[in-house]
């Protein structure tokens, strides 16, 4: 270099570094003896660094390799950008992280679709997901109680869907009806077989609602589903009888005779041929149509179970039950120590507000049933809060102040009020939340406030949870005093199925049902329980 030697250290260093390739360390340092000592280590290191870098200079093969990678990547980038292109940029270097990401995405999708399908209606994209999820939940159910709860919930779901379809002006498809019937029937069978007393009120509520809804959509049924509708409706009548009997702890009225009051017109086919569609029972249904089904109050869908249950004290209907698989249900009602009550029970089936409920010991069950696990189901019912806890109904008219908890209270003053209060919590509890203060407690005194309220009014809208609140107004309370029609109507409004309210106030064999008639507005049709009471004219209607 021709330039003058630099003075500052950094410049000197740099100068030496530049000289290194040609001169070597010692030669460089000779130019700067003063700083030699300090610079030597730096220069030595610099040489090493350069040497290592030189040794690693880009080899030809490396160069070609990288070029290939770049050009291939460029070609890939030219493809139409996929929405998941960002995934390609993720550094998923290992198969494990790729799989973890994929399974995480899959999980999120599944959970999301199931959650989003909560309000799906038939025809929606997510509806199959909803139904599939229902099936899955059934598969995970631990015991009969859980299964029965799920069936009741699914029945509520179907009812919501049917109502929604009707509201929208669509036709009600046969599949909805069939599935509804299947669920209710299965639930009833389970309840009867396994003596799930706690669920009886809810079953009654569901059956009641089913009656109402069926009546409401009678002329909106799809063309090919008329037969299904008829079957479901007839099954429903029977189911109501059974439910009421169960509620009153009476033997399941398999015989039409047994349920004199309630003699729903269908007595014959107590367990309706269960809309054969799903259960395949249709066959026996047909045969049994008028059979004394009594035993199989529950819709045939569960033929198998019935058989086992024959030994029920329902002596009377036992016999008849034979043909119905359901008979077991009747039989199961052993706890109905009231064989006698059977007679009295006739009006039982009615909506628990059997005002006449002489406070049978039932109240206890009722009470007990109140909080039964339903509350839990309620919880599970996430969006179908179908307050279905029709259970609260208990308005076993015949049962006298049955613990109809909800309305009972007022009646006989059964402890109902207590359970009324308590009752409500049942199944309702969950949706009761919405119901909030189920008037039950209040009507405990008056009995009227049938716990039903919850589901009553709101039932229309699927999210059932609302039923809870509606239930409160269960007109039941009214009958408490007079047993006349449950003034419950409060909730009835929506639920129409509050049908219970009407009954029981007058223990009289349901003829009191008429009170129902007052309720008819909503309950009538659905209030099948009334059937016995004569005019329950509504009963048949939906058939």
């Amino acid at each position: 270099m021709t330039n003058p030697l630099p003075n500052d250290l950094s410049a000197i260093l740099d100068d030496c570094l530049n000289r290194l390739p040609t001169e070597g360390i010692e030669a460089c340092l000779r130019h700067y003896p003063a700083q030699a000592a300090e610079l030597r280590p730096l220069l030595t290191m610099a040489l090493q660094v350069r040497a290592s870098q030189q040794a690693a200079s880009m080899a030809v093969a490396t160069r070609a390799r990288i070029r290939q990678r770049v050009l291939t990547g460029a070609a890939a980038a030219e493809r139409p950008a996929s929405p998941f292109g960002f995934l390609a940029r993720l550094r998923l270097n290992s198969v494990f992280s790729r799989m973890a990401l994929a399974s995480l995405l899959l999980l999120v999708m599944v959970v999301g679709s199931v959650a989003a399908s909560a309000y799906a209606s038939p025809g929606d994209l997510l509806y199959p997901v909803k139904r599939g999820a229902e099936g899955l939940r059934l598969g995970f159910a631990a015991d009969d109680n859980a299964r029965a709860n799920l069936h009741l919930q699914f029945a509520d779901n179907r009812l919501n869907e049917i109502e929604r379809a009707a509201q929208k002006g669509n036709q009600v498809e046969g599949d909805l009806l069939a599935n509804l019937d299947q669920n209710v029937s299965t639930a009833a069978t389970l309840i009867e077989q396994s003596q799930l007393a706690a669920l009886t009120p809810r079953l009654l509520t569901v059956a009641d609602r089913e009656q109402q809804v069926l009546a409401a959509v009678k002329d909106k049924v799809a063309a090919g589903a008329k037969a299904t509708y008829d079957q479901v409706a007839s099954n429903n009548s029977r189911l109501l009888q059974i439910a009421i009997a169960l509620k009153n702890h009476e033997p399941v009225p398999s015989d039409p005779m047994v349920i004199s009051e309630r003699r729903t017109p269908e007595p014959t086919h107590i367990l309706p041929t269960a809309v054969a569609t799903q259960q395949g029972e249709p066959t026996h249904a047909a045969t049994r149509t008028h059979e004394p089904e009594p035993t199989h109050i529950l819709p045939p869908p569960l033929p198998s179970r019935e058989a086992s249950r024959t030994p029920r004290p329902e002596p009377s209907h036992e016999a008849t039950r034979t043909h119905e698989p359901e008979p077991t249900r009747a039989a199961t009602r052993t706890h109905e120590p009231e064989p006698t009550r059977a007679a009295t029970r006739t009006h039982e089936p009615e909506p628990t507000h059997e005002a006449t409920r002489t406070h049978q010991p039932e109240p206890t069950h009722e009470a007990t049933r109140t909080h039964e696990p339903e509350p839990t189901h309620e919880a599970t019912r996430t969006h179908e809060p179908e307050p279905t806890h029709p259970a609260t109904w208990t308005p076993n008219p015949t049962l006298t102040p049955r613990p109809e908890p909800t309305h009972a209270p007022t009646f006989t003053h059964e402890p109902e009020p207590t359970h009324a209060a308590t009752f409500t919590p049942r199944p309702e509890p969950t949706h009761a939340a919405t119901l909030t203060p189920r008037p039950e407690p209040t009507h405990a005194a008056t009995l009227t406030p049938r716990p039903e309220p919850t589901h009553e009014p709101t039932r229309t809208h699927e999210p059932e949870p609302t039923h809870e609140p509606t239930l409160t107004p269960r007109p039941e309370p009214t009958h408490a005093a007079t047993f006349t029609p449950l003034p419950e109507p409060t909730h009835e409004p929506t639920q129409t199925h509050e049908p219970e309210p009407t009954h029981p106030a007058t223990l009289t064999p349901r003829p009191t049902e008429t009170p129902r008639s007052t309720e008819t507005p909503h309950s009538e049709p659905t209030a099948t329980p009334q059937p016995t009471a004569t005019p329950r004219p509504t009963e048949t209607p939906h058939i």
Binding site: Q53, A55, M58, V60, I66, L71, A74
Partner: protein, 227 residues
């Protein structure tokens, strides 16, 4: 390391293959930033914007060696350097539409401008890599030291490999600017002027940074090294 321009850096008209291993030359007059004239580079970049694969290859040939050397210097491992180098050029292709010459209107500055862009991409990718591997055990600085007494003594590739890893680890202890200067100078082989141009600093500033950086490096390497 500078390479014969004709064979490598100026590969007009196509993908040229280097037929000979480049020898190290520290030639301040040869710049690694301007691989082609401004007009040529502008034309190539424009073709690359039109997704011309040949233009991609040309740009690659222009800058692959300095970029690779720079990356290798900073990360220390050949495989990682290859990987990151490829990513640099892939990112270049991806974002070339967004590249603008902006203030490189003067003659002869476009090469540096484009190279500077590539070095920035490389720098960011290296930083990502180092951040990702921060938790992984790095090669301790007190690894086997290399005894390099004579520059011409053949040193085994394995020793060099260890040394490079040590060096890359030591670089992480320098400031960002210091490691940039050292890497650009000793890795990519740029001159002070070129480094100053890229980092927007004067040559004198670059020399100062170089001095302190080398001192620091020497202390770090000496800690486990033998010299």
């Amino acid at each position: 390391m500078l390479i014969n321009n004709k064979s490598v850096l100026v590969a007009k008209g196509g993908v040229g293959e280097m037929l000979e291993t480049p020898t190290y030359e520290h030639n301040q007059e040869t710049t690694r930033l301007a691989v082609a004239s401004d007009s040529e580079l502008t034309a190539v970049v424009e073709r690359a914007r039109q997704r011309d694969r040949q233009a991609y290859a040309t740009l690659y040939e222009y800058y692959c060696v300095p970029i690779y050397d720079y990356v290798l210097f900073k990360v220390g491992q050949v495989e990682v350097a290859e990987d990151i180098s490829g990513q640099v050029f892939l990112k270049m292709i991806e974002n070339i539409a967004r590249f603008s010459w902006r203030d490189s209107q003067e003659q002869g500055t476009r090469g540096a401008a484009f190279a500077g862009w590539l070095y920035r991409i490389a720098h960011n990718l290296i930083a990502d890599h180092l951040r990702r591997n921060a938790r992984r055990p790095t090669v301790p600085l007190d690894a086997v030291a290399i005894n390099v007494s004579d520059l011409h003594d053949p040193v085994t590739a394995a020793e060099f490999s260890i040394y490079r890893t040590q060096l890359a680890a030591a670089l992480t202890h320098l400031t960002d600017l210091q490691s940039q200067v050292i890497a650009l100078k000793y890795g990519a082989g740029l001159s002070n002027a070129e480094v100053g141009h890229l980092l927007a600093r004067t040559e004198g500033a670059i020399k100062n940074v170089q001095y302190t950086a080398l001192q620091k490096l020497q202390k770090l390497l000496r800690a486990e090294g033998q010299h």
